[in-house]
Symmetry: C2
Subunit: 149 residues, 2 copies
DNA sequence: TGATACCCTACTGCGCAAGTAGGTATTCGA
DNA sequence: TCGAATACCTACTTGCGCAGTAGGGTATCA
């Protein structure tokens, strides 16, 4: 297994928010019950989504959460990254802000990390897939024809 | 992080075996020292690689390991799968032998799992990348021009 | 003013990755 | 024939992070 339940649950929450849409905020308790997930745990995940500006919150009675943008303006790369942290197939490969890739084992400039090529490719293909898929692609009613993978 | 060090270390071992080539078996201790990895731990990993028929072993003095096939006949999908087990981005998505994908949460036929589409895509793109990359692609001396990712 | 909801921090249990340890079996060279 | 070198196997240990719980505080509405 590669992603934790943070990504799994969090994506479900996002889908649920998108599926209902509208301006009415949706209480997290409703989603938790409908999906059969523990509310207290979802609260942690929603906090991450909110900090990443993917959802907005309304406090108080009749409060809840709603999407910060239209569903087709939210890529799953943003969602997964907000939930899981930086996407890296293995520990030593991580993306820098400038887009380059570093390998923690490459200290000696002579000793080029041969496996880096593999993990870089894997990372790239995951990110590309997640970026090409928007939240709107996952909504059943919204039958947009997604670009073939 | 998504793959464990099993994949990381195991791939390094495979690369090292391929880099040296020849008919002389290579002792694991040599690889462990060169890569700075714990020998006793590597033994667990090579056991998996051997059971998957990716490497062969020679016991006794001057024994060691060698590739079971030519490096360009070994895909990284085989290697990673042997080390990590079946490749699935999240728990509930796993591939059946017939190639179909099941979602553990899809008990009720009415309740189609909307997130399944996403994880299926991710899984497919990972597997495709790993399958397209052979061990030979990772060997620096063997300057094959790999197909662009 | 009370109910409803978000919000925050701290704590816990547990499974598993990562590594250790110690032994056995096999093969080679001298 | 023996000892060194190596693969091979099983069991054990340790640390950490995921997954979840607990309990409060704060904002908002009717």
């Amino acid at each position: 297994m590669m992603f934790s339940t943070k990504a799994e649950y969090g994506v479900r929450v996002m889908v649920e928010l998108a599926r209902r849409g509208g301006d009415q905020p949706i209480p997290l308790a409703e989603i938790a019950e409908r999906e059969g997930l523990p509310l207290a745990y979802l609260e942690h995940l929603v906090a991450r989504l909110r900090k990443a500006d993917l959802i907005e919150s309304r406090r108080g009675a009749h409060g809840g959460y709603l999407l910060a943008r239209e569903a087709d303006q939210i890529t799953m790369a943003e969602v997964v990254e907000a939930l899981e942290g930086s996407i890296a197939p293995i520990e030593c490969i991580s993306g820098l802000p400038d887009g380059s890739v570093v390998c923690a084992r490459e200290t000696d400039p002579d000793h080029v990390c041969t496996t880096k090529l593999l993990w870089t490719r894997v990372r790239f293909s995951i990110i590309r897939t997640l970026t090409e898929t928007t939240l709107a692609d996952l909504i059943p009613t919204n039958r947009k024809q997604p670009a073939a993978a």
